[in-house]
Subunit: 364 residues, 2 copies
């Protein structure tokens, strides 16, 4: 008991010392930034919109977002804080502000990335674009390897990481391997993920040690040529995962699919292209029109991909019957998976994708 | 193929007819309202704050919320719409507007309540208190039994349900049995539930056919006497579920517990009181102070309940080691379970609670 008491007082005392210590801030752009398929001029944009012009203003806005980006750093600080600046836009009704414009920190522990804390955005004072807060505090001594995900549905104009005045903080070497590009709709974008690190591309990468890039464009992913040209420009890509059959109606799928694949294939002749059928939306449960149009989309997806598989041995198709479980409870609004939905989806696709990747790389 | 085409055209045609039909609105207060432990003057308040005065303004505000309330009705309409008025408060950073001030509809199908659609609140035009929208449309002919959950984190001043002009709409008999009161903190309140029907008390009731009342008070649940007096006033209660060890620190738990139980017990001598230990928060993962204070809370919970169990055979304790799974991914912010967290929690507590209830009632 006396030993327990001693430890208790040491913890209390170190807490007081930590709290008393002042904080220094470093520009996160001086640390390691991961998640970009192609380097960008602006540190926290996933696509360089000065270089890649999109025909649609919304796509352009989304391309500038920090979706899927994360900062890797090492520090021996006892506290991690952040100051960051985003756009001032309000969130959708199906998303929380932490996912939209917050930060999400993981620290390496026993070989796994373990959740450490969130940076909660300012929702009290308009224009809601300046944020500051403590992500985690009162940590033990020692060097921590940190992975900090950036906002999913906003741009980040500036980001500073705060640590103890006397602490070390430095860029961390990227521990993720391969380069896996995930392109899709709001499901990929992570509309209703609770936190930036809870999208299915982020979880798939973090849990399996893969380098994943989030090319999800909410409501805007219809197998357009402009995306295909961007994807063709990416160097050293190891695999594409496509969730491209959620936004387009069946006729658009039939019209755009082959042309989209042609453009990507011209640049990446042997790279596996893994197409997900797109989830069975819960908005179909009682809406007969939706039942009919969604079934047609899923049928179109199956038709175009399996037809192409006959002549292209590096194209794969993953059916979606189990993407949202069986209880009709895995979406925030009938369409967008919650963290529960992404859990079901990952349980379905992870072994299938890993099996495909094994054909191309020797996995541990 | 010709039969498919015929069905297709019938569906299209009925869609056109439905859309052409005008909508009539009925006041939801004329339908069946469930989820109140004690009747209230205001239709959509869970507690009558004219009758029950709370010492704290925030508790008073929460008592007026529609948390846990739902409307039961039958209709043969092809469309269900709603117009509703709430407060104008903004949501927390860890919650989506659909959960905070939206509506969540389930329809009975093959003996189960199946998700049908959400009423999305207005987030575009200040003061964000008037809402209107379609919850589900293009439904098949026939009578539907409907269960519509009300906002979790706002009051509802008015609610009208819209159906086809020619449709029948009437109150539905309450199909839920027993009266189970769930009292707790933000976890019970459902802070980060994606939709109003996704809190653990709502899911526990809906999936098992139990009448549950949500007495969750975010951040305000510390075994206060005023709650105990309210709970003592409830007639015909069959069981209490308590998640009361999340907000108070260990010393408050030791100080308040017996007095709280005494007051409830004086009114309900034989009613099972089932205490949940409170989840292991993910904010403990790296924060040593939090690790220590949270462990002390959980230890205090165990101590006070097990001590009381020695003299009260109707008190039960459910330990919480598996409430949030094992991967540290089940909260929105380190504290509040997402739909994934509630899924893990229900997988743990449901069989344990049902086993306890079986001692008191003959269950199917």
């Amino acid at each position: 008991m006396s030993r327990k008491l001693f430890v208790f007082f040491c913890v209390m005392l170190s807490g007081v010392l930590v709290n008393a210590q002042s904080i220094k801030y470093v520009d996160a752009s001086s640390l390691t930034i991961i998640g970009k398929p192609i380097p960008t001029e602006k540190a926290f944009s996933r696509i360089d919109t000065a270089q890649y012009k999109f025909s649609n203003k919304t796509i352009d806005t989304y391309a500038n977002y920090s979706t899927g980006l994360a900062i890797l750093f090492e520090t021996d600080s006892h506290v991690i804080r952040a100051k960051w600046t985003t756009g001032s836009g309000n969130s959708g009704t199906n998303m929380a502000a932490i996912g939209q414009k917050g930060l999400d920190l993981y620290i390496m522990k026993d070989g796994r990335w373990v959740f450490a804390g969130v940076g909660s955005p300012n929702m009290k004072k308009a224009p809601f674009n300046n944020h500051e807060g403590t992500i985690v505090t009162d940590m033990a001594d020692g060097v921590k390897k940190c992975l900090l995900y950036l906002p999913l549905f906003d741009r980040v104009d500036a980001l500073e990481i705060g640590v103890d005045e006397s602490a070390m903080i430095k860029p961390m070497d990227n521990p993720f391997r391969y380069n896996i590009i995930v392109h899709g709709s709001s499901i990929t974008h992570g509309a209703s993920a609770s936190r930036p690190g809870m999208t299915y591309p982020a979880r798939f990468g973090r849990d399996n040690g893969y380098y994943t890039c989030n090319m999800g464009f909410s409501g805007m992913c219809k197998l357009q040529k402009e995306y295909a040209y961007y994807l063709a420009d990416i160097k050293d890509v190891d695999a594409f995962i496509f969730d491209t059959f959620s936004n387009p109606q069946a006729d658009v799928i039939y019209e755009n699919f082959d042309q989209f694949v042609d453009i990507v294939r011209a640049a990446h002749p042997d790279v596996p292209m893994i197409f997900l059928q797109t989830e069975r939306r819960e908005t179909r449960n009682f809406n007969m029109k939706r039942e009919s149009s969604e079934a047609a989309k899923q049928e179109a997806a199956k038709t175009v991909v399996t037809r192409r598989m006959k002549t292209d041995k590096h194209i794969y198709f993953i059916t979606s019957e189990d993407f949202l479980g069986t209880e009709h409870i895995a979406t925030a609004d009938g369409t967008h998976p919650t963290d529960l939905g992404f859990t079901y989806m990952l349980e379905s696709i992870t072994p299938k994708i890993k099996k495909i990747l094994k054909k191309y790389k020797t996995l541990n």
